[in-house]
């Protein structure tokens, strides 16, 4: 009997699942779209992972991360429920021990994590603004009639990227339209866009903090070669992009589940659990909290969103 550990990263756009064995090696991984339904996506991830491995593995720990980590953690009765920042740092450290800076640009958020001697010393996340995230790039790709997958290669062809406002998406977009209508070449505009993402990130997320190498770049946008190129140009350091960069969060929580003091034994049929949520507004007092009741197998297991602590 071999032991294995499951890590699931349920993001706003995609859900990632990883199975690690005793030596923290990846034995199976999968990547699917969340499609606005985290419970369904999780069930799918588990059954996909199950098909990929031999039947002699016993599941000893589960970790969840990502924006739906609490809900899924409750559903699976997870050993570890951790935020994305810690999970990404732990996951990356398990592969690149020397890393000092982790850049991450995802679909909805972007973050930067600073490490020193294998320890997080500082981090920041984008706050109000969606500028410089994957969703902005993909919407601009659509506007320019280019597939997002080709974006990076086209950008690298350009010799003279146009200057595009980097502060804010609204300004960036109007700049982009002006430049396109003025007759600039498409590859120069695309290169300019990649450059503006980088500048925006360094302005709004990194906020002028000192970035030391080795630098690892993760998240969906890291697959864009143009953005990687301009990061290297701006920071003057080589940027490491891992093929498994998108799985780092999941790997991180799986490692944490492996390390956890409490070990449980899980069965594989948890993917058939009946799991339901109901939202309603409490009229008990003037707070009018929006409550979410969570039912597992028809039984109320938790209520979220109360301010007064009644539930």
């Amino acid at each position: 009997m071999n032991e294995c550990y499951l890590g699931i990263d349920i993001g706003s756009i995609s859900t990632k699942g990883v199975l690690l064995d005793q030596e923290k090696r990846i034995i199976a991984s999968t990547y699917i779209w969340t499609e606005g339904n985290p419970t369904q996506a999780t069930k799918k991830v588990i059954s996909l992972l199950r098909e990929k491995i031999d039947s002699n593995y016993v599941l000893k720990g589960i970790g969840t991360t990502g924006s739906a980590r609490k809900l899924i953690g409750l559903m699976l009765d997870a050993t570890v429920v951790k935020n994305e920042i810690t999970a990404h740092a732990i996951g990356t450290l398990s592969k690149h021990k020397e890393v000092r800076t982790i850049l991450e640009i995802g679909g909805q958020d972007s973050k930067i994590i600073f490490l020193e001697n294998g320890m997080i010393v500082d981090y920041s996340m984008n706050t109000l603004c969606a500028a410089g995230t994957g969703s902005f790039l993909s919407s601009q790709a659509k506007r320019l009639g280019v597939e997002i997958e080709d974006f990076g290669d086209i950008a690298l062809k350009s010799k003279k990227p146009v200057k595009i406002a980097a502060r804010c998406t609204v300004f960036a977009e109007s700049d982009l339209i002006h430049k396109a209508q003025a007759g600039y070449r498409k590859e120069d505009i695309i290169a300019g866009l990649c450059r503006s993402i980088v500048l925006n990130y360094l302005n709004n997320v990194a906020k002028g903090k000192k970035i030391h190498g080795p630098i690892v770049f993760q998240g969906g946008v890291s697959k864009n070669k143009g953005v990687v190129h301009y990061f290297e140009e701006q920071l003057g350091e080589p940027i490491l992009v891992d093929d498994e960069g998108h799985l780092m969060g999941a790997i991180g929580v799986a490692v944490l589940a492996h390390k956890a003091a409490v070990q449980k034994e899980y069965t594989w049929d948890m993917k058939d659990i009946a799991f339901e949520t109901k939202g309603y507004e409490c009229k008990g007092c003037s707070n009018h909290c929006e409550l979410l009741k969570i039912y597992k197998e028809g039984k109320l297991v938790d209520t979220w969103g109360s301010r007064c602590g009644k539930f």
């Binding site: 810690t86 996340m125 109000l128 707070n287």
Partner: protein
């Protein structure tokens, strides 16, 4: 027309203000409603988008009170945009068709006593200066006692054995304060509750210590900072907070001069509102080797935005982790929880590796 007086809501300070007003004015005093999602919604609807959050909260409170029949509103002013709140709020409420009177007690950072007395005489012709001075004295004492106990509660609430006990005792204490009969009964209540708080069973060991700095309203009204102190205490963190009414009323003037000397390296100017104070506090936290600091402000708070680069420099120099939060009326709590959790993990890891 019968006069009904009300004032904005901020933390637990509605108790001493209520006490003061009921004793010096012979007319109905209405406690402001607790801030709820509806308050915020109302305030948001009628405020300019880019105004700071306390404006929206206080306007929402006023509108809710007016709906319930209040017609005399009391507002204060401060050294930043806060100084213009009353003027703009007056115009906005007027446009809603209410007939009311708005009294502003502080203009350009100074209180004009003659004007205040005139205003209060306008509400209640039998207003007596001597009586007011006496009750003002008791109220100030009450605020001081509240803040003193609050300081203790913040240190211990994360470690109570029976959950919610501190909060329960505190609510009882506030009720007693509200019905206090004079200075000596107040002192007596204070001392007895001080003992009660001490008696609450706690299991406190070595723990993480975090200081909260930032803009005053966001710090003092728990609804505005999404119960940040509560969230931190659930992680077993000891919270230190500097801003309270005692500080603003009695200590600020002295402390600012001290801070100005202390932080000469980082800033030579006062920077407006509480900005300089926050630099001084962060230096203090760094010197005392706190595990971290959290800077909170409402979005568009100009003095605090201006001080952020300086704070970043202080945090680098003293190697104290600093987390920034900017709250507006629609920030979701989930994002805040994620950042707090990551912050906790970070300072915990640091502590272990020391």
């Amino acid at each position: 027309m019968k006069k009904i007086v009300t004032y904005p809501q901020m933390g637990d300070y509605n108790v001493p203000i209520y006490y003061l007003l009921t004793h010096i004015l012979r007319c109905e005093i209405r406690k402001p409603p607790k801030i709820s999602d509806r308050t915020v919604e109302l305030g948001n609807k009628y405020s300019p988008t880019f105004v700071c959050m306390p404006f929206k909260y206080t306007l929402g409170t006023f509108l809710e009170s007016l709906e319930e029949g209040a017609n005399v509103l009391i507002q204060l002013g401060g050294g930043c945009r806060y100084g213009y709140y009353y003027a703009l709020q007056k115009e906005i409420i007027k446009e809603q068709g209410y007939s009311f009177k708005l009294i502003n007690l502080v203009t350009e950072g100074k209180s004009d006593l003659k004007k205040i007395i005139k205003d209060f005489k306008g509400i209640d012709p039998s207003f007596s200066i001597l009586k007011s001075a006496y009750y003002l004295f008791i109220t100030m004492k009450m605020i001081k006692y509240m803040d003193k106990l609050d300081h203790q509660i913040r240190k211990n609430i994360g470690f109570e054995q029976k959950k919610g006990e501190h909060e329960y005792v505190k609510q009882k204490m506030l009720t007693c304060f509200e019905h206090t009969k004079g200075y000596f009964p107040l002192l007596f209540t204070y001392l007895s509750y001080k003992r009660k708080f001490k008696k609450i069973k706690k299991n406190k060991k070595k723990c993480l210590k975090v200081g909260i700095i930032g803009e005053l309203y966001t710090i003092m009204e728990p609804f505005a900072n999404y119960d940040l102190e509560m969230m931190l205490s659930q992680y077993g963190i000891e919270v230190t907070r500097f801003t309270n009414a005692t500080y603003l009323l009695f200590q600020k003037r002295k402390k600012v001069k001290k801070y100005l000397k202390k932080v000469k390296r980082f800033s030579k100017n006062r920077l407006g509102a509480d900005a300089l104070d926050n630099v001084g506090r962060l230096v203090y936290l760094g010197e005392k080797k706190y595990d971290g600091a959290i800077h909170i402000k409402s979005s568009f708070c100009t003095p605090e935005i201006g001080v952020m680069p300086i704070l970043r420099r202080v945090s680098e120099e003293y190697k104290i982790p600093l987390l920034f939060f900017s709250f507006d009326t629609n920030t979701s709590k989930v994002g805040i929880e994620t950042r707090i959790e990551a912050f906790y993990d970070m300072i915990e890891m640091r502590k272990q590796n020391e």
